[in-house]
């Protein structure tokens, strides 16, 4: 088990290093000079050159990469060209919106998907199963940002139950702040829940056909106990795999959904940065999100070992 975890850890670290090289390479081939960008078009060539020296832009490539990567490790991403503040300050302000949103959505999607999968699998082929899986098939096809627009139309424009967009900030009170995250979270969660529910169902059906399930039933265990205790646990591996993959989609989805609801999160920041060509902000957020995806996949790999005792014994 230690060997397994160690291998996953090394792979994750390696992926992270490679990813940082890709992001750095993209930054390198970008047209435009950050020093020129900061000083404006009227600055003289000498002024630009002085600033380039100050910013360390004239250092050799390898040194610049190491400096940048070292900065990342200590959460020093550099300064934003347009806001003239450290990028980490901008990120810190925004992450308190994006991260809760992604986590609520992830929790919501799991809470919906698992019971749906169990329900459907235990009624395989019957009307309840056909109906739920039909709905799931539809849910998979719905783009989350369109679903978000429809939710706004229904709950904000028609019923006036929740705000149509914007975020009052956590300072306004947790409940008020949460209220403006409800619709975005549902919009993100439902399409994901549809996918996850289908995975849970097919994984469960596969497990329910195993011999040990028949044995458990034969020794007199009630169906419910077999389903929840034995079958669900064994069906968790594919569910966890998809859950990990979904987190990447969820982060990407958060970026888009924030634009639907005018939420001041990382997604809004990254698009503002793109239009203002504030590339260091763009690269920093991309790097941060990539790191988050890699980290989550590592957590998933670790949780395999917890869920599946067979992995624990393996060397």
């Amino acid at each position: 088990m230690t060997a397994y975890l160690l291998k996953r850890l090394i792979i994750a670290a390696l992926t992270l290093v490679l990813a940082s090289m890709v992001v750095f390479a993209v930054m390198e081939i970008l047209p435009g000079d950050p020093a020129r960008l900061m000083l404006g078009m009227n600055a003289s060539a000498e002024q630009v050159e002085v600033l380039r020296d100050q910013m360390g832009l004239n250092a050799p490539l390898v040194l610049r990469y190491l400096r940048w990567a070292g900065g990342l490790l200590s959460l020093d991403f550099g300064r934003s060209y347009t806001y003239s503040v450290p990028v980490i300050d901008l990120v810190r302000e925004r992450v308190v919106v994006s991260l809760p949103l992604a986590l609520i959505a992830l929790a919501l999607s799991t809470i919906i998907a698992i019971p749906v999968g169990v329900f459907s699998a235990s009624r395989q082929g019957r009307a309840g199963d056909t109906l739920t899986m039909g709905a799931a098939q539809l849910g998979v096809a719905v783009p989350n940002f369109w679903f978000a627009l429809m939710l706004i139309y229904l709950f904000a424009v028609w019923l006036h139950l929740v705000p149509a967009g914007g975020f009052p900030g956590w300072g306004a009170g947790i409940w008020i702040a949460l209220k403006s995250l409800i619709l975005p979270a549902i919009a993100l969660a439902l399409p994901q829940a549809a996918i996850l529910g289908r995975v849970a169902r097919s994984a469960l059906i596969e497990v329910l056909n195993e011999d040990y399930i028949r044995t458990a039933r034969a020794k007199g265990l009630p169906y419910r106990a077999v389903l929840w205790r034995h079958a669900l646990r064994n069906a968790m591996i594919p569910v966890l795999t998809i859950l990990g993959l979904q987190f990447a989609f969820l982060l990407a989805g958060t970026i888009i959904i924030e634009n639907v609801f005018y939420l001041p999160g990382l997604g809004r920041l990254i698009f503002q940065a793109i239009t203002q060509r504030d590339l260091i902000v763009v690269e920093s957020i991309v790097m941060l999100l990539v790191a988050a995806v890699i980290l989550i996949n590592l957590v998933v790999d670790f949780s395999y070992a917890i869920v599946d005792p067979r992995l624990r014994g393996r060397q």
Binding site: L30, L138, R277, N297
Partner: protein, 289 residues
């Protein structure tokens, strides 16, 4: 003399009979053909000319004249959806082409060689998987500016590891088989065996995955165009139409409802088709999604 010991092929008539008995295949096929037909039709005819802005007709509710209403420039929504279908299909199709064109050879090579080449490929796969299509698109756009081509590249890059993985997994299952051994005994090389024997045997897997990625590509394209990273105006695209609709949800909800439904129906059709193909050709390994 080469001897074929491939597993017995089902007759074409048998597969067809199964196909027409499969509900999700039939519904999916009909929807997909319909969308393709609409996209093709838009080349020669649309109800209205979408390049003309008729401000007098702006944001009209659905009526007999404009079935799906008009947008803020007075353009007919139905006509725009028809032309938008072209864009969605083209982007998703080319992105699948990129994914297959690069991913399949890579996966086949990794399975054939094994060892270090295989391990290296899987690690690169991990790397690409860490960049969701949206993030690649953001980086590409920040570098080269927005456009439909960049959306295609971003989605295509995301497709590469998907096809590499499917191909590798499928090929690994075929390599130990007897007919491969026979081919090797006949003196065929690794490349030739991969092309002549491995690929035909995993073609159905690739077909099913291709359909899934096609559907995902349409969703991704819509998302990218919606945030301004895909097709640029005046080129009609479903995602872009939803962006325009966003600020007009109160006054002109039909601007959002119909393009969204076009996306849902198209993706639903493709997913049903993929499910159906998987069922018909290999009832045992039902797709897990």
């Amino acid at each position: 003399m080469t001897m074929r010991v491939d597993p017995p092929e089902e007759t074409i008539a048998g597969v067809l009979a199964k196909a027409f008995g499969n509900r999700s295949f039939l519904i999916g096929l009909v929807i997909t053909l319909l969308i393709v037909a609409v996209a093709l039709l838009s080349f020669i005819w649309t109800p209205y000319d979408v390049t003309k802005l008729v401000i007098a007709d702006k944001t009209q509710a659905p009526s007999w004249a404009h079935w799906f209403g008009t947008d803020h420039f007075g353009r007919d929504i139905l006509s725009m959806i028809m032309i938008g279908a072209r864009n969605s299909i083209a982007v998703a199709l080319v992105a699948v082409g990129i994914g297959m064109g690069i991913g399949v050879p890579l996966g086949a090579f990794a399975a054939a060689r094994g060892g270090l080449a295989d391990e290296a490929l899987m690690r690169v796969n991990d790397l690409v998987f860490a960049f969701p299509a949206l993030l690649s698109a953001i980086m590409i756009t920040a570098t080269f500016g927005p456009g439909a081509v960049n959306a295609i590249i971003a989605i295509g890059i995301f497709n590469i590891p998907v096809f590499a993985r499917v191909t590798r997994a499928g090929a690994l299952a075929i390599w130990p088989r007897e007919f491969i051994l026979a081919a090797r005994a006949a003196g065929k090389g690794m490349t030739r065996i991969s092309i002549e024997h491995i690929l035909p045997n995993i073609a159905t897997l690739l077909l099913v995955q291709g359909t899934i990625q096609f559907a995902l590509g349409i969703l991704a394209e819509a998302g990218l165009s919606y945030v301004g990273l895909g097709a640029q105006p005046p080129m009609p695209s479903w995602g872009r139409m939803l962006f325009d609709a966003q600020t007009r949800m109160v006054t002109a909800p039909w601007m959002a409802i119909f393009p969204g439904m076009a996306i849902v129906i198209t993706v639903l059709g493709l997913n049903l088709l993929g499910d159906g193909i998987a069922d018909i050709l290999d009832p045992k390994s039902r797709r897990r999604r």
